[in-house]
Every structure is written in structure tokens, then in C-alpha cells.
Amino acid sequence: MKKNDLYSKEEKLFQDKNKIYSAQSVKQIVYSTDVRDFGQVAKSIPCQDACPAKTNIPGYIRAVFEKRHGRAYELNRSANILPGVLGHICSRPCESACRHGEPDNGVSVGICHLKRSCSDLKSGSHRIIEGLYAPTEKKVAVIGSGPAGLAAAHDLSILGHKVVIFEGLEKPGGMLMYGIPEFRLPRDLLMLEIKNILRLGIQLKTNKAIGVDISLDLLKNEYDAVVVATGCVSPRKLNIAGEDLKNIYNGLDFMKAVNEGQKPLVGDKVIVIGAGFTAVDCARSAIRLGASDVSINIRKTIEYMRIDETEKYEAQFEGIKTVSLIQPSKIIGNGNKVIAVEFQRTRMEKTDTPPYRVSIPIENSQFLVPTDSVIAALGQTPDEAVVSKDLDGLDGVFAAGDFATGSSDVISAIAGGRKSARAIDEYLIGEKRKQTVVRLENHETTDRQRSYDFIGKVEMNTIDMEERLSKATNEVETGYNDDQAHEEAKRCYLCNLEYEIDPLICIYCSACIDVAPKDCIKMIESVPVNSDGTYGIYEETDDWNNVVSIAIDNARCIRCGQCLAVCPMDCISVTKTELIEIDT
């Protein structure tokens, strides 16, 4: 732009102003596709950005705060169809991203606990909202009723397609039903949310294993499209001598057995191998099966365990030990029964390719650890016996969830299911029917009080050791009550409110900086725009003749609204920004 143009533009901005020029950068509700808006949403709402399903977290937490739990539940459900379930067992990438957890900001908001509380606390008369499309007369087969399958099935039938789910096992839910222990996820809740999906007219056929009870080609012919969402079911093997002795389980089978109500024989001393949720679930289940000395053994350091702090603490509390930097090299048996594991020490090394840090075994560092049983929870890979996971979808067969991406977590699987549902719909209809945009709305109040920032995290209520052991299925966490949820909801920074100072009205009086609670308002020279539309680090300055603007850093702002209150020029605007999906 030429200098003069800009100059005249500046003039224009003030000509079209009525006596007091409004700083509101948005005059009414608008839907933006500008990369900078997406950028800002991504950067200044880190929780939502971290969520694979892009759940509108500030939105539903606000609803919980207003005690509109039903509304909160629906906001969740619009992004993931199993809010209650995820409220119990989500891996919570959002919480590690939460800005309340940043240095000096205290601890992350209990996002997942709040998710749970909106399903716990919603009124009995709560009704589910579905925006149903007209029937399309298209038929889709979904193979697998795990999170990915369910998500795909749900969205497809919303979009008007006829959906049938084929489940190989006796009950639906996949990993949720067979992988996760009941003391973390009550089954009635799981079934309730599954039924909420099936009621859309989705047909569920259980005990129909693909390739065993029914062939893929048959489905290809009968249906306009087929979704393969069989997840990851073939366990990784230890690939060491003695692996096939007795009392050596793989994590998945072990959990399956436990969840089917069997009591696999573990003995007194149990060695669990693996660093993920499954490993911890196995270990904690083993404790409940009467084992007294349970250890989780990992190749890398504790840092690299793929579980969150709560799980770590609960495991610790239940007396489970973690041994790091070792890997099994051999399993020693007496006859056909395992009596010890030979471990080998490892050390960390760097690689140039991801994951950059790996553990490599140290020669001649073997040593023996006696044990009564071994559980190998090394994760699983897709079972490609029937169909290979690299599908292009051209012949109407699509891969979804873990089956496509490899073993991940539940929320990713659900997001994956949704994604493929969109793809399938486009394939069937021949056009995009939905589009993600940023909804911008003027927001008068700031919705927060400064005092909220000093509320400590509301701890989840749990049951004590005796109760845990008395009945293996007793749920450990018992959820928030109404007031606890309300209190915890207060802590959310509502990062979806975007604060902006209009430098064209600002008189640089720095009243806002004076009241700023944190390093959130700065005198800046320039602001770089990254390719993804986010604003880079503001270039600050203390030289009066370089201060181009006083700017609010939305990635530091805690929405206390004090700047708003003191600004003499009313040049600070608050805009509510939400990612939403609309029809194209």
C-alpha cells in the first residue's frame, strides 16, 4: 500500500466515525475465514487447539459456570459423541495446554472433570439435540463399534445416510468396553451414550467379525461405502525368548479377560512392561486381583510415560512401583511357568528422526528379577489380515480412527471417525456440505472477576484404599457435585474472548498497563504475522518514539477486564471467537 493511501485510509476511518468512534472491531455477528482469525483461535485458545476433536472448551465451561449442564453437555457432544465417557477417561491433551497451568498461573483447569460433571449433573429431563438432514437413500457399513466407528456412524446417519455397524465381539464399544477397566469407566454410562447414537436408526450387528463372519467384498457390493474402524487389536510382541510361557499376558487380552469378569491368575509379584495407559490399567487391575508387589517397567525415563499426573499419582498411591531405563531381554521359566525376567539396562540416545530420543540397550548389563507373572502392555497395531490400512477411499472403502492412524487415544479416534464421515459424505454426495469458520461476536462484559484467579483447583473426590480393593469394579473417582463444578468452572480464563486495543484511537496513556495483572499488555513496535495466521512475539520497546501501539497479548491475557474498566478512550474491544461448523 502506498503511504498516502494508508494515510487517507486512516483519515477515512475517522470520517465515517460518529462523534465517538467505536473501537468495536466487529459490529455484529460475522463468520470469518480469514487465516488470522483461525490463527488467533488456535493460539489464544490452546485447550481447544490441543483437542483433536476441537471441542469448544471455554464455551462449555462457561455453561457449567452458569449451571446450564445440559447446554454444556450438548456443546461437548457437538464435537465428540461420548462426552460422559471422555469425561472419565480422556487423555486430556487440553489440560496440558491450559494456560492456567503456565508458570505463575497455578494449575490447569480441571477441564476433563468439568466435562464429566456436565454429564453427571445435567437434569433428568435433558434432551439430546440433533440437526438431522434429509435421508439420502445411501447405505454405509461401519466395521467396528469402537469410538471411531461410533463417531463415523453417528455423523453419517445425521447426514441422512443409512448406517449399519458390524461388531466382531459380543458387546459394542471396542476398547472402551474391553480395554478400559471398570473402576475408571462405569459400563452403564458407556452403554447409555452408545444407545444415544444407535437410536438414530443405526443398526448394530454384534458377533460379526469381518473376514470371519462376513467378507469385505460382500459389504462393498451391498453398501455405497464401507468404513473400516477396527482399531488396533493385534498386540505388539516382546519378541524375546520365553514369551509363550504361562502367566505371561499381553495387556489387551489381560484387560479383556478382567473386563469380562474373569480373574486371570497373577500371583503375588507382577511385572508389567509398557509405558502407556494400558500398562497402568493392567498394573492397577493386578493390584485388585490381589497382587502385592507390582512394578511397571519402562525402556525410557519416567518423563516419557504416556500418562497424565493423576494416573501416575493414583498408581503410586496404590503402591505400584515404576522402574525406568530397563528392557526385558529374556524370560526365564521353570517348566512352562515364568519365574523371572531377565532385564537389560538401557540408556538414552538421540536420533535425527522423531522421536529424537530413544533408549538403546547396554551390552552385558543383564540382571534377573523374579516374578510370578508378566503383563506385556506394549500397545497394539492395526490388524491388516483382512484389509490393508492404506485405503484411498476411491472404491468406497475408507479407513477411520486408530485403524488408519495407528494406536492413539479415544478422543483422537472420535475425531478420526468424524473426519472420515465428512470424507464419505463428500464421496457419496459429490460436494462439501459442511465448513469450519470462526464466529465473531461483540462481547460487552468480560465475564470474569479478578478473584477467580486465586481459586485453587477443586480436587476430584476419590474413594479410599479399602473400598478400592473391596470390589474391583468400584469406580475410584466419584465426580464433582454442583457447587464444586461451579467453583472449578470459575477458574477458566475464557480464552475465547479476544481483547484488542485500537491504536488508531489509543492515546498511549498506559492506564491499562498500570492495572495489568500480568505481563499481558505491552508497548510494541511491531507484530509479526506467521504463515498460519497467528501473531508472533510482539516486538516490545521502551523508546517513546518507537511505541507504535500498546497491545494486549491474548496468549497472556487472563480476561480480568481491568484494562477495559480504566481505558479513557474506550478503545479496547472484546470479541467472542468460536470455531463452528456451518453448511456451505
Partner: protein, 343 residues
């Protein structure tokens, strides 16, 4: 202005100080800074119990070093906590929101009292004897108090127990087999210890665990799972030490229980070294990562870290004692092996 190296040392104990000294010896014009979260200069931790007993004065506790910081032109920052490390930009973020740039970093932050998970919820009722500040906080109280309860019982723990006994206090101790972690006491060891303690006026509890501690206006009611109940004035915890390294998390430095370093005390990040009881050192001879405690070890490691930081390739060797005498039970621990407990 000519660029000078800035060597920063986190920790003001034996390791840190000897590292700093060595660096200064080798490099006359580098900028050297020691950062310590303690508010007092370099002192002898091992003598803290004697200090409580008033066997020695505050002056005797101090390693006479104060002026030598100035003499050696070593900048010392006391009472300042490192919050995190950004190894990319070589920046330290201090708790009071100051940023410090370093060219080379030595972590010698030592260790702090370990609190067992089962007791973590009562942490604010527990007293410790791990730092000068702790001691100053309890010294007077101990003098006044009569009844004591001790959980665990590591080296310092038993030393403290004997002290209390000599002061004529009544003491109850609940011994955790893993208190002397990472070593796990066997049953007959426990028996021996109980035996040797019998010569003192002390109730010994074994094979039991804490159930509850509650605070009734300064008086504590301690209850064990087997139902033993005591009303005491002070509750102490002696369950060994754990490396003091929370600030290093997420810095890109490999951390397990302690900070992982190779036999040259170098971490996986160039320009960052670690030594003393906060480090988990690779020992080629036993092909394992091990942690060492004890003053002499710290001193040697501090010096070695400094030498290697300046480009040398010294391999660390322990100067640990052949064994520790735990109430007559001899425990061989030149090196700690199989760190098998959760930090």
C-alpha cells in the same frame, strides 16, 4: 564490550562451590554465577543435627567462604529459585521473573526430603531436618516439645533419634523398610535395628503404615493402619532424599529420577552438566545409572564437572564409604544401585 563466557551454577553446596572454584582457577575472566534457593551461604549440611543440639554455633556450621566469593569474583545469588531452563536460548527463568543467560550451565541442586505418596496428603504436618532453613524453623520448637513421632528412619533419622534421646524426649518411630531408599531393608535387618534401638527410650513400630495425622491446635494425633495411636508435639519424616530437579523438567535435559549424565557428568544437552546428589550418573563399570550422596563425592564431582565443562575428559570416580552403619546394620553402598522407587 568483549564477550565473556557466563558459567552459571545452580546450587550452593559442596558440588556447586567446588565447581565454581575450579572454573575460576581455570578461567580468570569468565563471569561465574552461583544461584541458590537457600538464603544462607555455603554450610555443612551433615552438621545440622549437631547445630540443633547446640554442640556447635552457627559460625561453625558455615563453611568459611563468604568473602572468598568476592575474592574469587564469583557472583552469588542467594534466596533465588530457578523455575525453568530453556536450553535452546540458554536462558534461566528465575522464580522472581528474572531471566539469566548462560553460556555453560552446571546443575548441582542437590536433593530434598522425600515424602512417601501415602504421606503426601499430610505433608504440611511433617517436619524435616534437611536444610538450614528447616532447622531454624524447628530448633526452638524441638527444645520445648516433649513427645515426638518419626516416620521412616534413614541415616539422619537415626542420628536425630539419638539426639532426641539424649535430650530426654520421648520418641516413637515407625520404620519403613524402604526409608533408607533405594535400599530395601530385609526383615532380619529390621529385627537387628529394632534390637539395637532397644537401648534407647523409644517405641519402635515395624510392618505398619500411616493411617492418619490430624492437627489439634498444635498437638498431633498420629494413627497407624494397625490402629496404634499417639498424641505428639512434633512429627518428623526421614525417608531419604530425592534429587531436587523439578526446575529442569521440560528443558530438553534427560531426566529420570535425577538428571541423567554420562560418565563425564555431561547431560544430553551440550553445555549443560550436572553433579552431586541431583545427578543420576552413568557408571560404565556396573553399566547402570546411579546416584551418589555424601560430601566427598559431591566435592569430586563438582571439580570433575568443571574440568569437563572446560573441555577436559575426566571420568568420575566415587569416593564413597565402603558401607553405612545403620544402627549396627552394615549396608554396602559405594554406589546406589537399582533405583527402584518412584520419585
Amino acid at each position: 564490550m568483549p564477550f565473556n563466557d557466563h558459567y552459571v551454577i545452580i546450587g550452593n553446596g559442596p558440588a556447586g562451590n567446588h565447581a565454581a572454584r575450579t572454573l575460576r582457577k581455570k578461567d580468570k575472566d569468565a563471569k561465574i554465577t552461583i544461584i541458590s534457593d537457600e538464603r544462607v551461604p555455603y554450610y555443612y549440611k551433615p552438621k545440622l543435627t549437631n547445630f540443633i543440639a547446640d554442640e556447635i554455633a552457627k559460625e561453625d556450621l558455615m563453611v568459611n567462604f563468604l568473602n572468598s566469593y568476592k575474592a574469587k569474583d564469583i557472583r552469588i545469588r542467594l534466596g533465588q529459585e530457578v523455575e525453568r531452563i530453556d536450553s535452546e536460548s540458554k536462558t534461566l527463568f528465575l522464580q522472581h521473573m528474572e531471566k539469566i543467560n548462560y553460556s555453560k550451565l552446571i546443575i548441582a541442586s542437590g536433593s530434598r526430603a522425600r515424602v512417601l505418596p501415602a504421606m503426601s496428603r499430610y505433608a504440611n504436618h511433617l517436619k524435616f531436618v534437611t536444610s538450614y532453613t528447616d532447622v531454624m524453623a524447628v530448633k526452638e520448637e524441638i527444645r520445648k516439645a516433649k513427645d515426638f513421632f518419626i516416620f521412616g528412619g534413614d541415616l539422619v533419622g537415626f542420628k536425630f533419634l539419638r539426639l532426641l534421646n539424649s535430650m530426654g524426649k520421648t520418641v516413637t518411630i515407625l520404620i519403613y523398610p524402604n526409608a533408607f531408599w533405594p535400599y530395601n531393608l530385609t526383615d532380619n535387618m529390621l529385627a537387628q535395628i529394632t534390637e539395637s534401638l532397644s537401648k534407647f527410650k523409644v517405641d519402635v513400630i515395624v510392618k505398619d503404615d500411616i493411617s492418619i495425622i490430624d492437627d489439634k491446635n498444635g498437638l498431633y494425633r498420629v494413627k497407624t493402619q494397625k490402629g496404634i495411636e499417639k498424641n505428639v508435639d512434633m512429627v518428623f519424616s526421614f525417608n531419604g532424599l530425592i534429587p531436587n530437579i523439578d526446575f529442569a523438567k521440560g528443558s530438553g535435559v534427560d531426566i529420570d529420577h535425577g538428571i541423567l549424565v554420562n560418565e563425564y557428568l555431561k547431560t544430553n544437552v551440550d553445555s549443560i552438566y550436572a553433579c552431586g546428589s541431583c545427578a543420576q550418573i552413568y557408571n560404565p563399570s556396573i553399566k547402570s545409572y546411579t546416584t551418589s550422596i555424601g560430601w566427598p563425592n559431591a566435592v569430586v564431582q563438582g571439580e570433575v564437572a568443571a574440568f569437563n565443562l572446560l573441555g577436559d575428559h575426566k571420568i568420575i570416580e566415587s569416593v564413597g564409604r565402603k558401607y553405612f552403619d545403620l544402627e549396627g546394620v552394615k549396608i554396602k553402598t559405594i554406589w546406589w544401585e537399582d533405583i527402584d522407587d518412584e520419585v
